[in-house]
Subunit: 657 residues, 2 copies
């Protein structure tokens, strides 16, 4: 019997820091000397993945090359395991299509101080075949792929997919290596897994840098289990941990590295987000026979094959993993700023309460400061709820009323005269209505919270949710401001669900009681910027969240992205509730008594989503992504008018006549 | 003799508005009935180019298809010309690599009410071969290209590059069509122009959607003249006009459509930015002989071949075209907001003065309001300069002092106590130093300017220049705020140059005098936020612009993007001044007496560029691009630490020892 101890090195990858990443890998290699036979590291674990246009800095590329060499050299140490890792490979003498030195998203297998030559590619590395160009991914912006290379060289791309012969204790093993997207082949004409399967590997590793989004882990288990069956050998998926961002959007990388046996059974899995090693033993009992992986059941994991049924959990079922991503992402992103204190404007509403409880779940109470900033429009109800929240969390609290400051602003800007030098032009300005409301929001954000954060040595938080961000319901430099919008990828009903989860499953077991007062769940959502927002009279936001959450989801997140044309067609056909999955208790007829009402509402929000909403998002804080379409880098958009198609206009005319 | 009147329809393209674009095209077709024989429209002129992820909306694609069909049908009218236009072609039944319906960046030739079949592709359209994936371009995110299609179908990509036989008065013409990047083939392995040349076209048209950047027009003339010679036939380049944006970055499309004869001589060119038609006549005197284009000299254009010499004008030589782009872009972007009034915070410094003069160059004076917002730190010098500027421009002016408001803020936030409910934690905050300075900036931006803009029915402008934006020298929600940063792609020395141009070449001829007072050019640049910024004592910004402009250029804009490693190597080798093109009168030794000083400065700004600078840019207003690397969509970056390579650290240690 031949056997091999394979260590899945799920590691926290720090984008743009090759020395730090490779340093951690070198320590891992040293630690595993004499223990494991093969260490498997994630995709691009030396350079990191989301490094913007850092790939255009030759010094960065040279630094990566330096550490690649040191990693390879480290396998020469006595008892050192073989390694496989993802990194950037540079061909300085050839060009990519951007005219810069050609770069590959590559993998290296090294043993005994040498990088093994890829038999098909005839290079000391292999390269990724499928480069994703969608959502937050843009591999093709910087990397050349195996298919392009094959085309240029007049060869077949399948030639570049070839197992590497790896000497192992008592024999040799055909190791197949795939990089992330190579296994997500279903939408591509070229199928790397199928190509690799045809070359009969003994073991396949997939090195990934795959961000968390809600439900993705379930989907990945279904896809990879099927691929393991196709390959007919064990498949080890090794994913990065940590956080990475594209400026506008922050992603968590949840690791969750997993080993599938050739039946698609999960036989080992690493915990989410941890920097950890999971060792499995694979063995061949018969010379020339298949390699199999030890299959030991663990508490909490039943080793049965994952099957490709379509599994759609109800909308709140994945809240635990959403909370986990929010808490990990917010904590790590805060740490990346170099600060460890947080200021939150606490209005007494649900968004700021969930935001506060989220940060309180990992911060010492003296590092969290809630600030309530009442004006004449704020009710005692919400002020008391904000105070009660802070008391429950045990954190710092201050009340900073804004009426005095607003009085100065009104005195200066209301009835302000502006005159040209010759006196031929003049104007008298009035600060009233919406302008006065927005002045309140900016006074809170840009004056009070930004000032307090700076003097506290802290960051402050943007509490906006996804429904508000969709239509720009919020004030730029006011409540749309802060270092991060941790709830910016949650629809309003999801904010409530996370709030309940924080009460029941995070703080409940920890402190024995809820922290978010029930009153915060019960009051009507309101900005409290004027008399028309009086919460005690049940007045609040113009958004009817149970409806608008789903309408906006259809605009933003639906696979075939909906426009007013589809919405109106569904409305006319009577199947809107089914198409956009409205809550069963929502009475559409009551909400919109006539088609005129329905259309007016539809156009109001479509105009805002495509108009001022875009302008606000351009200047909004980074959003912490938990869905498969977060605002920012994964939701590319241009400032421009809201457009209605001819089919929409025809249908509208018919409905209104 | 056979002849053909070809009309270059340089049109303003409105992204995302197929009905509007196609409507204009239909009017053009109608207008040219009986006049021109062939109308040539730009690339993607039906859908527009920068539409974000609008390509993922099926209703948008169907709307484009509807208008494509109507355009083709319009050629059936009596006397209607043939047309060639760029649009999106959708194959609903096949998939792109994002799993969505496959889309092509395509061209259509239509005549007599029918789209001509592409002989190689066997479709009623041709498709782009080279998809740019760099800078602000991301064609591959949504489009499939001819090379991918050829690979999937097991054919050669050259098969898909084939002239179309077009019936013309008295014969037939082999019309070659290329889309934009197809002619910028030099960095690609596949060469569409060469492939087309081999198939002997009679006339080639290049349909483009090519944004203006400084110097690009000269480069394009050199490239296209060479391509015309390679093709051996007339080459008509038809580019879009208008503005398009990617949210964070605004681009002007300058048109400048041009006809080259087969010697590479420019024989016709359309004016920049205009929605216009340029008609040329091409003719064949001998049956089977070459088609030539009429070559009539016009005032201001000498018809000599453009040759491919490397032409590097000095840094200020292109200021007229930069000003033209700024004025066009700012004017059109303002119009796109639906507002026609502008508020500018006028500090008495150069940035706000250039910004004000720029908007004054196209706005009626009563639509422009300058606001000076002095605190105790502002000198009479700058206050008077701001007033004098407004007087010179004849626009509205108001002074809104900020001391009263700051007094409220200081009273509230300085010595503010925050306490936890149990009293076990408490803190007393102090608003002082930098926190007090930033409070002033935010008071001006978020309180005064945002409030005034809203009550005036106006937008307000972010006056930040590129040097400030590089290192985040500015306050978020303060001076880094506004609807647009029109100067955000200009280095400080370029801001001065545009200022002089506005005085001497824009306002001088128009009003007979300078508008920006000389004093504004003469004073030291200063934020005037504290005693250490006293302009009358010559104190101001920590940036030494003549040096830092060039250092930051090397970080941001240099082709091989520099890092401290290269900078320090050049410094050590004594050739920094040459490498980063320092002004000749700059005394580096005086600026940095020792290597310690040099390195401290280098690391200070590198840390800011990669640190807080990124965080501020994420929330900064859109930048109007004029360079080939504007901040935003063309300068992708991630929030993260500033990193120093091992080679840098080694060299630093050597220099400091």
């Amino acid at each position: 019997m031949t056997s091999l101890r394979v260590a899945l090195c799920q590691m926290r990858v720090h984008p743009g820091e090759p020395a730090r990443n490779a340093g951690a890998m070198l320590r891992r290699i040293d630690e595993q000397r004499g223990k494991a036979d093969l260490l498997v590291f994630p995709e691009l674990c030396v350079p990191g993945y989301f490094v913007g246009d850092g790939w255009e800095r030759p010094a960065f590329l040279r630094e990566c090359e330096l550490w690649n060499e040191r990693l390879v050299a480290a396998t020469a140490q006595a008892g050192a395991p073989a390694i496989v890792f993802g990194t950037v490979a540079v061909e300085w003498g050839t060009r990519g299509e951007d005219g810069r030195p050609r770069k590959y998203n590559a993998w290296v297998v090294a043993r005994d101080g040498k990088a093994l030559e890829h038999p098909g590619l005839r290079r000391a590395y292999g390269v990724k075949t499928l480069l994703p160009h969608y959502r937050e991914f843009e591999d093709g912006r910087h990397f050349y792929d195996a298919r392009e290379l094959a085309r240029d060289e007049g060869r077949s791309w399948e030639d570049f997919i070839e197992p590497v012969a790896l000497d192992v204790p008592g024999g040799s093993l055909r190791l197949g290596v795939l990089l992330c997207e190579d296994a997500w082949e279903d939408d591509y004409v070229q199928k790397p897994v199928a190509a690799l399967a045809a070359k009969r590997p003994d073991l396949v590793v997939n090195l990934s840098a795959s961000p968390f989004t809600r439900g993705k882990n379930d989907k990945r288990n279904r896809v990879f289990a099927a691929k393991a069956r196709l390959l007919g050998c064990p498949l080890a998926y090794v994913n990065a941990a940590g956080i990475q961002n594209n400026g506008k959007t922050l992603y968590t990388f949840d690791g969750r590295s997993t080993v599938y046996d050739r039946e698609g059974v999960v036989v080992a899995d690493a915990p989410a987000y941890e920097d950890t090693v999971e060792v499995v033993e694979i063995a061949r009992t018969v010379d020339g026979g298949p390699w199999t992986v030890e299959n030991e059941e663990k508490p909490g994991r039943k080793n049965v094959p994952v099957v490709s049924t379509v599994h759609r959990p109800p909308s709140t079922a994945m809240i635990p993993e959403v909370y986990e991503a929010l808490a990990y992402g917010a904590q790590q992103f805060l740490a990346s700023t170099g600060l460890d204190k947080v200021v939150i404007g606490a209005s007494g509403g649900i968004d700021s309460a969930v935001s506060a409880a989220l940060f309180a779940s990992f911060l010492p109470p003296e590092n969290l400061l809630l600030v309530n900033m009442p004006s004449r429009h704020n009710s005692d109800t919400t002020r008391n709820l904000a105070k009660q929240l802070a008391d429950n969390l045990g954190c710092l609290y201050a009340e900073v009323p804004i009426e005095d400051s607003l009085a100065v602003t009104r005195a200066q800007l209301h009835e302000l005269n502006a005159v040209s030098g010759s006196g031929s032009h003049s104007v008298t300005l009035k600060l009233e209505g919406l302008a006065d409301e927005n002045a309140q929001a900016r006074d809170r954000g840009a004056r009070v919270l930004a000032g307090i954060a700076q003097s506290f040595g802290a960051v402050f938080v943007c509490n906006a949710n996804k429904a508000e961000l969709t239509v720009g319901y919020g004030t730029l430099y006011g409540d749309i401001a802060g270092f991060l919008a941790p709830l910016g990828d949650l629809w309003k009903h999801e904010v409530y669900a996370v709030g309940h989860y924080l009460n029941d499953s995070v703080f409940g077991p920890r402190v024995g009681h809820s922290v978010i007062p029930q009153g915060i769940f019960d009051i009507v959502p309101s900005a409290e910027l004027g008399a028309h927002h009086a919460v005690d009279e049940g007045k609040g936001d113009p958004l009817v969240y149970p409806y608008h959450d789903r309408l906006f989801f259809a605009f933003v997140q639906r696979w075939n992205r909906a426009t007013p044309e589809e919405i109106l067609e569904w409305y006319a056909a009577g199947n809107l509730a089914v198409e956009v999955k409205l809550p069963q208790d929502l009475d559409l007829k009551k909400l919109f008594p006539s088609a005129t009402d329905f259309i007016a509402d539809l156009e109001r929000w479509w105009n805002l989503y495509n108009g001022i909403g875009v302008a606000k998002r351009v200047q909004a804080p980074p959003v912490l992504a938990v869905s498969s379409r977060a605002f920012g880098f994964d939701h590319r958009e241009s400032l421009g008018p809201a457009v209605y198609t001819e089919r929409y206009r025809t249908l509208k005319k018919r409905l209104l006549s």
